[in-house]
Structure formats: structure tokens, C-alpha cells
Symmetry: C2
């Protein structure tokens, strides 16, 4: 079946995405409980917190305590998110995270302004400074990301030319700092993507940069998350961000009832049913998804945790 | 973009799928209100009721009254569902429906037994009798359908060979009754399909019957509905059943918290955003989806009705 990858790596972002957007205060111990549960599922990377202004995102005020409390499982990378120098310093100081460097650009200047209060020029300058800090701290920078790559609630559709222009900026920065950027993450931050625009943007980037590995960060606000992931798989994309139970959303994206990220266990289900290995134990992950619902105290959008897996049904039928 | 159809026909099945599975009694007038609302969206076909045993499906006991009450809009076909001769007679007697004939087989014999209390042989016999009734009443039979075509909770995976075998039975029946079957509907009754099995089954049928138009009836119980529809679109499938707001499910399929059919407005959103014409006014359809939530009295799974359309956002941005 053509370009499907044989193995997919899923970066779990549920704790970070979920805790940052939930209204009710979630006890630190329960956050840690969910992360520890996710550590036992076979996921190889879990983004556990964001180091952002606690006034803007009160749900992340306990980021350091969460990091301190988790039980690190061998073979799992624990990451954090930050949007500026101060956040990066907090991530480094937490002492327990796998801090990796990244060049972070945004396709929509209006969203950049709203989300980080920066122009593109200011952001490029900030990226320069951040890269210098990464180097000072011996942190490798092998990944770049473009937010709002498929459209923006404040700027509209994003043209391929804009994405390719940002890729140029990324490789200029990389050249200036002697970095080897291996992965480009394209984020559908405000859920504008359809499978066709996934094809369009991934195709355009791949045509110009055939050796760059592409990762997708997908949201499900308009119900396209899994279909967009499938379009990515068809193009050989093998790295996806996802959130257990469909936790999350973006607090700055201006949605009233924003659905969260593409749901990890639904994505794992699709991949495994199509013969694409994820390394994840789906039953264990569903347990984590149910725990996530319990932790946030309301139903979450994940489907497979309610509809059930097919593996168990097949086993039952084989016995019957 | 290859095989995408330019126009997609969506058969709305929300009223039938939804009213048959909802627990609470829904007043007949409110059912009619929803159907009349759907009539104004540009949808060209609406399945409004099923004529089934009211003891088994109490939510459909008022089927005749619902049919009597709706305001037929010009250019819209109003259909009903039935599973046996008695149901068909009720549909004909209702006097107001577009009764079209269909040959209905099921890929899973165990499900057939459970759902209709028949063996495949008994079902073929029953189809023979039903076709005779269609002919007696001058009802054209141009469509065949295969339920549980992608897998079954009681029988497991369904092989291509099984589907092709059922296609042979269909064309034998058609030959015996001098029918011209133009459309084959493949139903993922219990949500076993993935985009890959859509490709597999649709591909196998198309290879053997290149002139047969294929329709897909998809459920979203495991979150694959829209991705499966996309896989169908990629193969040129241009007819889909769907349910407004994601109403529905199958009361006999044995799910505890079964999600419903693929959501009409999410499917319309995907198609229109990808340049595939549906003839449906998405804003009007979203109004119907919100009405559906009000009628059933609980949240429904549709995403676009919560996440919002992009057309309006683009308009706002163009003005700003």
C-alpha cells in the first residue's frame, strides 16, 4: 500500500495540552498519576508540562512540581513546552526533563502577535537568542516547527509559498548556527487542515526538501484530525503529536468549544488496524484515557475508549 | 487530485438513525420539526423513519404519524427503512414516501441471525419475495446493500471473497428478476472499517464490477468515520449515508456507548473544503444539527457545529 510508514512514532502531548486548557484546578498529584500511567503504555515521548506565564495559563503554575513528581520510565523521553527564554530556563532548571532544542516559527503573523506578542522579525531574532542558549547548554537542535501551517483564525488560509518561505528562514538560521535540522513539524494549530491541504503542504515541503522528515501536530476541532493523520500516513509521515482521550486545545486560538488534539488511542487504533506499528499497548492506553476523563472530571472526545478495540473482540470470537 | 469525485450525494439518515436509538420518547412534532429543518438545507434525500416492530424499537412506533406530518420540499426524496415484507407494506401504505427497492444482504451470518433472525439462505429467499412485492407495486430496484461489509462484532473480520460472493448472489437475484442494479451500498454497520479496509473492499468490488456505483454507509463508533469517508472519496466514491450531528448508532450492534453514523455536517465540511460539491448549505445544516441536539436533549458528537466553519471566518477576515 504505497507510502505508508511501517512504524509510527507518537509524541503524547495530552498532559501538557490538557492541563493547560482545563478550567478547574487539577491537583498536582492527579496530573502526575496520569503521566505515570502514560509511561506504562509503550509511548516513547510524553510532553508533560509547559513553562509559560502562570497568570496567562494558571493550570501550568505547578509545572515544576509535576516534573519533580513523575516517575521516569526507562526508554521514555519527557519533554516540556516553552515559548520564550524564561520558559526554556525553567525547563532546564527542572532538572528532570529531556530538553531538546527547536526552531519555532508561526505561519500566521497575526496569530504570532496574539499568541506570543511578536512580529515575525522579532520572532526570528528571539529564535537566534534561543538557539544561542541551547548551544550554551549543550542542547541539540534538530527540529523545527511551523505553527498555524494550514490556516489561521486571524489570518485565513496559508499558502504553500508562505510555508516554503519559513522553511528558508529555518535553514538560514540553521546555517548561521551550524545546526542540522532533521525534522520539520507542521502544526494545524487552529484546525484548518483537511486531508487535501495535508497533501498539498506536506507535498510542497517534501518536493523542496526531500530529506527532511515531516511531523504533524493535528487538532480535531472540526472533526478532521484522524482523516488528516491518515492523509499524512499516505504521504509517509511517521511522526505525530497526539493527546490521550483527545485532551486539549489551544487556549489562545479563539474557539468557544474547541475540541482537542487528535486522540492518541484513536490514532493508535487506526495505525495498528492498518498494520502500522506504533509500539503502544492500546489496552493500556485506553486505561490512561479513562483515567484522563476521571482526572479532568468530564467526558473527553476519544472514540475507541468508548467503542472498544477490535483485538479483544477478535480474541473473544476466536475462543467462542 | 486523482480520483476525487466532483460532486458527492449525501443521503441524510439522522432522523431514522437517531430516533430509533434514543432512549427518551421524542414527541412526534419535534421529529417532524427536525425533518422539516433538514428539508431546507439542500440535502436531496432524507431517510425519515424505519418501519420496524415497535416492541423492538419503541422510538419508531409513530413512524406513520411522522411521515404524515412532514412538509415535503420539492426536489427532496423522503425514504424509509424496513427489514421485512410487513415493514415494506407499511412504507407503501404511508403514501407519502419515495419507496425505492433494494436487495439487502448481510456479510455476517451471525449478525443477520441476531438482527433479523434469518440465515443467509432464508434471507435470499426473503429477498426474492420482497423483489416480487416491489414489482407488484411498480417499485424500481436499482440498489443493493451489504451490511457488516467491513467486519462484525459477532463474526469478526470479513474477507473480500465473502463480499464478492454476496455480489454474485445479488447479480443472480437481479438476473432472475430482470433488475438493473446500478448502486451497491457497503455498510460498516459495526464500525470495523479503517481507511485501508475501505480501500481493500471498495477496490475488490470495483475491480470485478467496474460499472457498479459504490455507496458507503459509515459509522463513527471508533472515530474512523471521516477518515473512512476520505478513503472512499480517494477511490471516487460519490454517495454517502450520513447523520446530522452524528445522530444514531445501531441498537442491535451490541455497543455500550455506540457513537452514531458519520456526521453529515462534518462530511459536508470536508468535501466542500476540498472543492467537492455537496449541494448542501453548511450553515443551514449546522442549524439543523443544533436543533437535533435540542430535540434529543443531550450533546451530539458533531465537531463542525462546535468548532465552526471556515467560510464565515474567511468572510470576516476579508472584511477586517
Amino acid at each position: 500500500m504505497g507510502d505508508f510508514p511501517r512504524f509510527v512514532r507518537i509524541n503524547e502531548e495530552g498532559p501538557r495540552e490538557g492541563f493547560q486548557i482545563e478550567k478547574g484546578p487539577i491537583p498536582t498529584a492527579r496530573k502526575i498519576e496520569l503521566i505515570d500511567s502514560l509511561s506504562k503504555t509503550g509511548l516513547k515521548q510524553i510532553q508533560v508540562v509547559s513553562f509559560v506565564n502562570p497568570k496567562a495559563v494558571p493550570g501550568m503554575a505547578d509545572a515544576e512540581e509535576v516534573v519533580k513528581g513523575i516517575k521516569r520510565a526507562p526508554g521514555v523521553r519527557y519533554t516540556g513546552l516553552w515559548l520564550n527564554e524564561k520558559g526554556l530556563q525553567r525547563a532546564i532548571s527542572s532538572g528532570k526533563l529531556d530538553v531538546t532544542g527547536s526552531i519555532s516559527l508561526t505561519a500566521s503573523e497575526r496569530f504570532l502577535q496574539r499568541n506570543q506578542n511578536r512580529t515575525l522579525a522579532e520572532n526570528l531574532k528571539a529564535q537566534n537568542a534561543t538557539i544561542a542558549t541551547f548551544k550554551l547548554n549543550n542542547i541539540a537542535v534538530e527540529r523545527a516547527s511551523i505553527m498555524a501551517a494550514f490556516g489561521c483564525n486571524f489570518e485565513g488560509d496559508i499558502a504553500n509559498s508562505r510555508i516554503l518561505e519559513l522553511c528558508e528562514r529555518i535553514f538560514e538560521l540553521a546555517a548561521a548556527h551550524d545546526l542540522n535540522i532533521k525534522i520539520l513539524s507542521l502544526a494545524d494549530t487552529m484546525a484548518w487542515a483537511t486531508p487535501l491541504s495535508i497533501r498539498r503542504v506536506v507535498g510542497a515541503v517534501r518536493e523542496k526538501y526531500p530529506h527532511l522528515e515531516i511531523a504533524l501536530h493535528l487538532h480535531d476541532t472540526r472533526g478532521m484530525g484522524i482523516a488528516n493523520a491518515y492523509a499524512g500516513l499516505e504521504m509517509g509521515v511517521a511522526i505525530f503529536d497526539a493527546a490521550v482521550a483527545g485532551l486539549g486545545g489551544c487556549p489562545f486560538a479563539g474557539h468557544r468549544a474547541a475540541a482537542g488534539n487528535v486522540c492518541t488511542e484513536d490514532l493508535v487504533f487506526m495505525c495498528e488496524e492498518m498494520g502500522i506499528n506504533t509500539g503502544v499497548n492500546l489496552d493500556a492506553l485506553i486505561e490512561s484515557a479513562r483515567l484522563a476523563e476521571d482526572v479532568v472530571g468530564h467526558p473527553l472526545p476519544g472514540a475507541v475508549m468508548k467503542g472498544g478495540t477490535l483485538v479483544k473482540l477478535r480474541e473473544k470470537l476466536a475462543v467462542a
